[in-house]
């Protein structure tokens, strides 16, 4: 028999995984659509040259270069999605705060931009150990980002930072908000032994206990 709180947790996690994968696959599809058009255009230019029209090699070079660039960008999205998927299937009970911050910010970027909000974070932030399952920490960060974006006006900026203190790591979400952001649900904070503190219209802090040695964050 599933308890109501377990049922809620399962539904929230499924919703989270659904939204993250939908957003990532949307980006992948856009990348494929661009590559499809560019490669077909290259093919059409070649076909026209066979029919006698002058072919500008520079134009073809630019097109091929763009396809190559786009392959790289789309590959990055696939890698992020793969990393995200493994955060659940490997059932890690520890993860690295810097990695979680970067991964969730990267995966939230498209959603934020559709609302006219930009995200910034320090991608080179040294990794920090955290207690808590990777997928739960990711959900907590994702939920905070959603709350921040919902409370931001179009054109707004949101910054993410990490603060390390003895025994704790804090994710700082900052922006110029039009309302107070929502906190992650109580059951999630309880599962992480975490705390969330609203900072008025500036943002919120999500604090979780730091882990010791032996952090497993790579696959």
């Amino acid at each position: 028999m599933i308890r109501p709180e377990e049922q809620e947790m399962t539904e929230v996690m499924l919703d989270f995984f659904g939204r993250v994968t939908a957003s990532a696959t949307h980006e992948i599809k856009n990348g494929l659509a661009v590559m499809n058009e560019q490669s077909r255009l290259a093919g059409e230019l070649l076909e026209l040259s066979r029919q006698g029209r002058e072919l500008d090699p520079g134009r073809l070079e630019v097109l091929i270069g763009r396809v190559v660039d786009r392959i790289g960008q789309t590959d990055l999205v696939v890698r992020r999605l793969n990393k995200f998927a493994h955060s659940a299937d490997l059932g890690r009970d520890r993860c690295q705060a810097g990695e979680v911050m970067a991964l969730m910010a990267q995966m939230h970027q498209r959603l934020a931009s559709t609302k006219g909000v930009s995200l910034t974070w320090d991608p080179d932030r040294p990794a920090s150990g955290l207690v808590g399952k990777a997928c739960l920490v990711e959900l907590a960060v994702w939920t905070c980002l959603e709350g921040m974006i919902a409370a931001s006006a179009a054109g707004g900026r949101i910054g993410l930072e990490l603060k390390e203190e003895p025994g704790r790591v804090t994710f700082l979400f900052r922006g110029e908000l039009t309302g107070e952001p929502e906190k992650p649900p109580a059951w999630l904070l309880e599962a992480l032994a975490g705390r969330a503190e609203i900072k008025g219209l500036e943002g919120l802090d999500l604090s979780v206990p730091a882990a010791g040695e032996g952090v497993s964050g790579k696959d």
Partner: protein, 119 residues
């Protein structure tokens, strides 16, 4: 036939535009709903191809504005995914058709051809 392409993916619209030009099809492109609607106020278009998810004025809002500005202009919604409720909403708002990315240009042109208009 004159077409307006609206998609925040610049490389996509510029490449589709170039492919249409190779076919001698008159077209303009815009990388936001706002830019697209500004073009629509200055020019007449037979067809508008508009992306669903864009920052600022998105596809749904754009469809409503297009129908207000140029009721006779026909609209194709371009989308990266196929959530049935989104597609139904687009059709209710006035889109004539929707196409899922990646779009085959011959398919796009077939939809715009007179026979396609009857579908």
């Amino acid at each position: 036939m004159r077409i307006l392409l609206i998609d925040d993916e610049r490389e996509l619209v510029t490449t589709i535009s170039e492919r249409l030009e190779l076919r001698n099809i008159d077209n303009d492109w815009a990388v936001s709903g706002e830019e697209g609607l500004a073009l629509l106020r200055r020019n007449h278009y037979d067809w508008v191809v508009v992306d669903l998810k864009m920052p600022g004025i998105g596809g749904f809002e754009a469809i409503k504005a297009i129908k207000r500005e140029q009721p006779g202009t026909r609209i194709i919604l371009l989308t990266g995914h196929s959530a049935p409720e989104d597609l139904d909403r687009a059709l209710v708002l006035g889109a004539d058709r929707y196409l899922i990315k990646p779009v085959d240009i011959e398919n796009l042109l077939a939809v715009m051809a007179p026979a396609g208009q009857k579908e």
